[in-house]
């Protein structure tokens, strides 16, 4: 096609003649390949696209002004939304009260409509800054900024909501959600349990519950302790991340518990929850830099991780601790199916457990590994991964790999090229 000289002529040549509009179903599919932001840009081209109700919305606004504009747009889309993700909203600090009021006024007409949020089943919201940003702010001002928009009226309208992920300053204002099945709450402020227990009693359909808190601002167990947490009988899985209620009550013996936190905090917390031990199936431990390195004492009668199915030892950031797990075979780990360890230096004896199927060891430096019974381990493991800079080889390792080869099982050992090499 020959290029024309004038801009006007060029536009004329490349413009398509108006064609019958694509069906809405196709526009929905097309929107599915675009970010919400890109779609909003396109929707300003004609009335039909502007009125199209998207089912999946993901809006991240990082400035107060952007938030107002985005919420005004969102208000028009609420009736058709099935899933909604809101991130980066900072609209209710003391300095931005005026902005918060504007937002409330903008959302009010949409929320008064009987159709608003009638289809919404998934809601993921982060109100306030990310953990990193929050830590920076706390360092600079010494105070936690009060942030978040009032979610109560919005959630009260979402009668079909089945999944809620919420990161905010506190759970204040959460209404009863009769159809909610999965809830993940990440709260920036303690305590949370008192209010949460009351809230949970009004969620009869809840199946999975995750409560988490950033550990950055808490130094010891005392800072983490909260009041009683009562988990309703409907809940099948509970995961607590850096959350240690003084008392944990499970109303069903079928509820499975998974805990994530610092070793010292978990040890103290579990002493207060003797009835929970039988339902504790997963444990992810990390150790702070000021703690004594892990070790399994063969003389100890019980350990924090006794009877768990999934056990993970993680290296906390900026904590180059070592771990000594040669005593693992004496621990009560008969139910163990999965063992993951990520450390700088690791000394470990892999216990001979028939149920242990998944083993992952990731060492930035030296891995000193042996097997309680190389043949049993090699025969039972389904997946394993060893990453290290230096490995101390003993006879049991040779026997382990020899059994693997005999059994025709694939095996791969990776020496981490990025890790510092030692002689």
């Amino acid at each position: 096609m020959p290029l024309t000289r004038s801009k006007a002529a060029k536009v004329k040549q490349t413009t398509r003649a108006p064609a019958p509009h694509l069906p809405d179903e196709l526009w929905h599919r097309i929107a599915g390949f675009l970010s919400t932001k890109d779609w909003v840009g396109a929707s300003g081209s004609c009335r039909h696209l502007r009125q199209l109700q998207l089912e999946h919305l993901n809006i991240t606004a990082t400035s107060a002004h952007g938030s107002i504009s985005a919420l005004l747009w969102l208000a028009k889309q609420l009736p058709g939304a099935r899933s909604l993700v809101l991130g980066g909203w900072i609209v209710k600090s003391a300095l931005q009260q005026e902005v918060a009021d504007k937002v409330r006024i903008a959302m009010q007409p949409a929320l008064q409509s009987p159709e608003a949020l009638s289809k919404l089943s998934i809601l993921r919201v982060q109100l306030g800054p990310s953990d990193d940003e929050r830590a920076k702010r706390m360092n600079s001002t010494g105070d936690l900024p009060h942030m978040g928009i009032c979610l109560g009226p919005i959630l009260a309208k979402a009668t079909r909501l089945s999944k809620l992920e919420l990161a905010c300053v506190s759970a204040a204002g959460l209404p009863p959600l009769a159809n909610l099945r999965h809830m993940a709450l990440h709260l920036f402020r303690f305590p949370m349990s008192d209010r949460i227990s009351t809230l949970l009693q009004n969620m009869p359909s809840l199946e999975t519950l995750q409560l988490s808190h950033s550990s950055a601002s808490h130094d010891s167990y005392g800072d983490h302790v909260e009041a009683m947490l009562v988990v309703p009988a409907s809940v099948q899985r509970v995961e607590l991340v850096n959350v240690f209620p003084e008392s944990l009550v499970l109303n069903s013996d079928r509820t499975v518990v998974r805990l994530i936190g610092a070793v010292c905090c978990l040890e103290e917390a579990l002493m207060g929850w003797p009835d929970v031990r039988g339902q504790l199936k997963g444990l992810r431990l990390y150790q702070r830099a000021d703690e004594i390195p892990y070790s399994v004492d063969p003389m100890d009668e019980s350990h924090l991780w006794d009877h768990v199915e999934v056990l993970q030892f993680m290296r906390a950031p900026a904590s180059p601790v070592d771990v000594e797990l040669h005593g693992l075979p004496v621990a009560s780990l008969g139910n163990l199916t999965s063992l993951h360890v990520t450390m700088a230096n690791l000394c470990i004896t892999i216990p001979a457990l028939p149920g242990l199927k998944d083993l992952r060891l990731d060492c930035a430096r030296t891995l000193c590994m042996s097997f309680e019974d190389a043949r049993v381990c090699a025969e039972n493991l389904v997946g394993f991964e060893f990453v290290f800079a230096v490995i101390c080889v003993d006879d049991t390792i040779s026997a382990f790999f020899a059994t693997l080869v005999t059994a025709g099982k694939p095996c791969a050992v990776q020496q981490d090229a990025e890790a510092p090499r030692e002689s």
Binding site: I30, C46, S69
Partner: protein
């Protein structure tokens, strides 16, 4: 393998294998009806009144390519990684068409119900839209600016967050 004649809206006949034709769920169900009526011996002619010769030719290129060994009936790959990569390259080249052709192709894929082609076309259109201004989208897709002045003012307020850089907005 049985051959099928697909007849376009302008009367052009295309002979294809029933396997390639069956990538279109619309054609597949028509074939089932025809087979029940006319038995397995007589030639099967499927009229497609909503697809012109030129577009049907292009759709059939896709169907034939995606029914070659190494693909299943829905056009999804279930064998080698190499074959998958080859098809991705082929698909990319296949989509090098004008906006006008793309418009007719997506409409045909929708009518004929060819899931893989429909996804490919919708992704192609999304790529044309991504990061473009409303004026550009209108120009590309022949859309008419039918907003009233009050609506335009409303769009300026509500779409602002998506059209300008947030940092610049904060400075203002």
């Amino acid at each position: 393998m049985r051959t099928v004649i697909l007849r376009s809206s302008d009367g052009a006949d295309h002979i294809v294998s029933s396997e390639a034709a069956s990538l279109s769920r619309t054609v597949q169900s028509l074939l089932e009806e025809l087979e029940a009526k006319e038995g397995e011996e007589s030639p099967l002619i499927v009229p497609l009144p909503n697809v012109c010769d030129c577009t049907l030719r292009k759709v059939l290129q896709y169907c034939i390519q995606h029914t070659e060994p190494g693909t299943n009936l829905t056009g999804r790959i279930h064998v080698s990684e190499t074959r998958r990569r080859d098809l991705e390259v082929w698909d990319r080249n296949y989509m090098l068409v004008s906006t006008d052709e793309l418009y007719h192709l997506v409409m045909a894929a929708h009518y004929l119900n060819v899931p893989g082609l429909l996804e490919l076309c919708c992704e192609g259109i999304a790529n044309l839209i991504r990061g473009k201004s409303p004026q550009h989208v209108r120009q590309h897709f022949g859309l008419v600016n039918n907003f009233e002045k009050a609506e335009e003012e409303d769009i300026r307020r509500t779409n602002l967050w998506a059209l300008v850089d947030e940092k610049e907005l904060a400075k203002k």
